[in-house]
């Protein structure tokens, strides 16, 4: 699986790829273009030029629905869930199961929600019929991630999944991220926290000022090298912007 981008204003020719079954971390300073990159793939922003390849085939993504159809899901750090709706309703938001008369079929939706949460070992949620407003930060993040799994997605982007969480909840979410990779999904983890990144990622892509500075294997690099790449663009490929 390979994706590449041409010159979007915030992205000056970024090549980025993620393979099935790996956790790819996407790091970079503020304004490096991480969010823009995600939004392009999710169909929220359109790309000016360049192409997206999915399983080797060029695809066009014009909206969130197109991305969803391909099996690309983005889990945002905020604003991803409706507080007033319950867990099941959020998991199926925008893709409800209904009969030809648009009547909702609640039972199968609830059943699969329960099964999915169980397969990810999310056990702290008491009832899938409680409003998301009553859940803790970690539980909410778990619901958002589980939503990605429920839809048999093949590429999952996680945008700062641990930014607002405490220690125990961060633990929960990182375990979840690992499990996603083990289940054969392609996982892209966007994070500022290099400890988190080094714990779960297989490879690390560093962005700087809208350019790809380099891709590092986790086992063959160090935190210091990544920090240098983020701040100075000291890439081995020498692509750093001035």
């Amino acid at each position: 699986m390979f994706k590449s981008f041409g010159s979007v204003e915030a992205l000056r020719g970024v090549d980025f790829e993620v393979r099935a079954g790996e956790v790819m971390a996407l790091v970079g300073d503020n304004g490096a273009g991480k969010s823009t990159l995600i939004k392009c793939v999710a169909g929220i922003n359109s790309i000016d030029s360049g192409e997206i390849l999915f399983e080797g085939q060029p695809v066009t993504i014009h909206g969130p629905k197109d991305a969803a159809k391909l099996g690309i899901e983005v889990v945002y750090q905020d604003l991803a869930l409706c507080d007033n709706l319950d867990v099941v309703q959020n998991m199926y938001l925008g893709r409800e199961v209904h009969d030809p008369l648009f009547r909702l079929k609640e039972a199968p939706m609830e059943q699969r929600t329960t099964e999915t949460l169980k397969s990810l070992s999310v056990t702290t949620i008491k009832s899938v019929r409680q409003p998301v407003a009553t859940l803790s930060g970690g539980q909410r993040q778990s619901v958002a991630v589980a939503r990605a799994v429920l839809w048999n997605n093949r590429v999952v982007f996680l945008d700062e999944p641990t930014a607002a969480l405490g220690v125990a909840q961060t633990r929960q979410v990182l375990d979840l991220v690992k499990r996603l990779g083990e289940q054969g999904l392609a996982v892209v983890l966007v994070s500022h926290n290099l400890n988190d990144v080094f714990e779960v990622a297989d490879r690390i892509t560093v962005l700087r000022l809208g350019r790809n500075v380099g891709v590092y294997e986790k086992d063959k690099t160090t935190v210091e090298e990544i920090v240098e790449a983020i701040t100075m663009g000291g890439a081995p490929t020498g692509q750093a912007a001035a």
Binding site: A42, P64, L85, G94, R95, H98
Partner: protein
């Protein structure tokens, strides 16, 4: 999807469904700020007791029939308001939109003119006019992003202008068409009344038990069957009681059936369809809804279309009740009563919370206060102060409930 659930889930489901567990869960929800219909039902009972103790006429078949006619217009308009409130918007234009609709129905029906349409066509045109105004307002709100408060305030003024222009110097149009007059004045036969009560109860039972058994088949928590049955008996009993009281006088007014139909249809739309789910989602978080691929603009426009159409129907009901349309139509407290009815019925002004049935309960409370104070011969100020206080209490309750819910979350 019909495969049986693993045994442990089934066992857990049964655990959650014992009577004690269900009541405990309900109590927790109550503490967490989810008060449901409880305050409004308590309010209705309290108001009934108060006025019954003050006036022997209040709790009578004649007055009950009268009350249904009085609350009909406001309640139907309030159902439309519920949808707009659910997406976190407001519609200030409904009062005068209903006046425009009543002018349309009045202009479309007079015998001997060149546009003397059959009554039902005239009614359809009136509702269509309301829906079109709603669509126009909704489009400006959704596409341009002008706040709904301002757009519908402009809509209020423009609609009022249209009414003044249309009524011209004569200032009043009488309603002659029998079909239009029937809307608020026709009384159903006593047997028809019973049939309505039976159909309502059977429908409610089918829906409730259908849900119960399909969930049980799927091995999901079902809620307690006794509580399900009790709810069916309670609401079914209310329907039979209402019919019995009406039949004690002349019978159920047609407009009562219209209220029931609108509320049931609205509840179905909001609670059981994907459209309704998207309405709640937009009210909860428009950004999350958009990212989930929901067409937020379309949902917004449709909610204003519903609000406009319901205002149109409300206008027809009011015109039919008054037998005419004049320049005072749509003014007064109609707008504020309609919004108050929805809010008193537990629909949140912040969007995303509340039920369509709240419009019925809220409309009933407002109708009862108005009716009761009239019976007591109280001055108008009593009516206004009472309605205002109840509205304030309802909004306060909503705000507190919201804060509690957030507090439970983190």
């Amino acid at each position: 999807m019909s495969s049986a659930a693993p045994a442990e889930i089934q066992a857990a489901a049964e655990d959650q469904d014992s009577l004690a567990a269900v009541l405990r869960a309900r109590w927790e929800a109550l503490k967490g700020g989810d008060v449901g219909n409880l305050p409004v039902i308590v309010g209705i009972i309290a108001i009934t007791i108060f006025f019954t103790s003050k006036s022997s006429i209040f709790f009578s078949a004649v007055n009950f029939t009268n009350l249904i006619g009085q609350m009909a217009g406001v309640t139907v308009i309030a159902v439309g308001i519920v949808f707009v409130l659910l997406i976190g918007e407001i519609d200030l234009s409904v009062g005068y939109v209903s006046a425009v609709a009543s002018v349309v129905v009045a202009e479309a029906q007079p015998a001997g003119t060149n546009h003397d349409y059959p009554g039902l066509v005239a009614i359809g045109l009136a509702i269509l006019a309301g829906a079109l105004i709603g669509a126009a307002q909704g489009s400006i709100i959704a596409f341009v992003g002008v706040p709904s408060f301002v757009v519908t305030l402009a809509g209020l003024l423009i609609s009022q202008g249209i009414v003044i222009k249309a009524l011209g110097t004569q200032g009043v149009i009488g309603i002659q068409d029998q079909k239009v007059l029937d809307v608020s004045n026709y009384i159903l036969t006593k047997n028809t009344g019973w049939i309505i009560a039976i159909v309502f109860t059977v429908g409610l039972a089918a829906a409730s038990f259908g849900t119960y058994f399909s969930r049980r088949r799927a091995g999901l928590p079902t809620g307690n069957i006794i509580i399900t049955a009790a709810r069916v008996v309670f609401y079914g009993g209310l329907a039979f009681a209402a019919v019995a009281v009406c039949n004690h006088y002349r019978g159920v007014p047609l407009v009562g059936l219209i209220i029931l139909f609108v509320v049931v249809l609205g509840s179905y739309l909001a609670g059981r369809t994907s459209f309704g789910r998207h309405v709640y989602a937009v009210g909860g978080s428009a950004e999350a809804a958009r990212r989930a691929g929901i067409n937020v603009k379309l949902i917004r426009i449709l909610c204003f279309v519903i609000s406009g159409a319901m205002a149109g129907l409300g206008g027809v009901i009011l015109a039919s009740r008054l037998n005419s349309v004049d320049l005072t139509f749509g003014g007064g407290t109609l707008l504020l009563d309609s919004i108050s009815a929805a809010v008193i019925g537990g629909v949140s002004l912040f969007g995303g919370r509340g039920r369509v049935s709240g419009a019925l309960f809220g409309g009933l409370i407002i109708g009862m206060i108005s009716n009761g104070t009239d019976l007591l011969g109280s001055a108008d100020w009593v009516k206004y102060v009472t309605t205002g206080s109840i509205l304030l209490a309802a909004v306060t309750l909503d705000t507190v409930a919201r804060r509690r819910q957030a507090a439970v979350g983190r």
